[in-house]
């Protein structure tokens, strides 16, 4: 049987409670959930689901330092599962139409007020790649590995998602 889990080292004794995880990470989890869902109620539900799952699987957390990334993964998985239940599977991989991606770049600071609206326009796979890159700070390679897509696909999605935001976030009037 293939087991890819790391075996705990003899001195890898960690004692972390769900209360501690909530205390330390609930705000950033909520912010990430909001960027994923675009709605405060959905974000709170998703955040709660994340911590309930983490609570059940707490014994799998081997390093306290990895807690935030572990929680982010649980959050993203729960979000995708939620999306799949609401829509047919084939809509998850909707591509961003090429005509939506303008070629010119904006050199002005963008209007943050409409950021979430523009994020909501992105297909989930693009939005997740964007958030993994900008919110979590993951590399292209890490995103490709965790989402099980080709590196080129990640780069393409990020490029097009970023271009979509740049051309649609109105520059602040001088």
């Amino acid at each position: 049987m293939h087991k890819n889990r790391k075996q705990p080292t003899q001195d890898a004794t960690i004692c972390v409670s769900i209360e501690q995880l909530i205390q330390q990470h609930y705000e950033v989890l909520y912010r990430y959930a909001f960027r994923l869902t675009g709605r405060h109620n959905d974000a709170e539900d998703l955040t709660q689901q994340c911590f309930l799952t983490a609570h059940r699987k707490l014994s799998q957390l081997r390093q306290v330092e990895a807690a935030r990334g572990w929680l982010f993964t649980i959050l993203r998985t729960a979000f995708l599962k939620l999306v799949r239940k609401k829509r047919p599977h084939n809509e998850i991989d909707t591509e961003l139409p090429m005509q939506e991606v303008a070629q010119e770049k904006s050199e002005s600071p963008f209007d943050l007020e409409h950021l979430q609206q523009r994020l909501n326009e992105l297909p989930e796979t693009y939005r997740i790649a964007l958030l993994m890159f900008y919110f979590e700070g993951k590399s292209y390679e890490e995103i490709a590995a965790e989402t099980n897509v080709a590196l080129g696909t990640v780069m393409s999605r990020l490029s097009r998602a970023k271009a979509h935001l740049r051309t649609r976030l109105r520059p602040i009037e001088a």
Partner: protein, 226 residues
Amino acid sequence: MNRFDPAHQTDDAFDDELAAALHEVDVPSGLRARLLDAVVDSEANSGVTNRPAADCHDSVRLSRRRWLSGGIAAAIGGLGLWGSYRWASRSLTEEEVWSEVSESLLSSDWKAFNRDVGPPYPFPRSMMRHSGWQARPTAIDNGTVAFNLTRAGVPAVLFVIRTGRSAKLPTLRQAKPMVQTGAAARDWNHTAIWRDESASYLYVLAYDGRREDFDRFFVGRTVPLA
């Protein structure tokens, strides 16, 4: 793009601004307390206490509210090392079985099974005697194997969960599996669950479509899996 190119610098500036902007979200007041309450409520409903990380010798941290809420089987096993509940001595409750299936579904550790080696847990032969069932193992996560199951073109998923504990569930030789539908089926529209005679495996058939299609998985047998 040359990093000293003004366009590149503008690109970097956009990246920095976007990264910062994504974190600018107001967090609702009272969220932390609500999240803690949700955890306490889930423990009260499931009877499962907070399981600390493995090898944690610092006992389970329990809040005063958790004791006051009552109905929590905190006395099970006492304080101290809990370890994986799957290998504890008491029988799995139905709640724990569903929790295990939900965990498997939400796991980030699913791996495609190795076709050269095959799935570690076999598809039960007695289930293969169901007319028209076709199964193909697709993924492995720690203690669970997922099979894509079809009957007459209707797809479902069968989870085969390795467990060392018994469970108060119908066996493969009994008349009907335990069927849940709607909210009781957790993440699915319909589920059916059995255990094998040796209590080594749990089987959960999960289906998201219509009830009449789900029922057809069991058509044609008075004793479905004998």
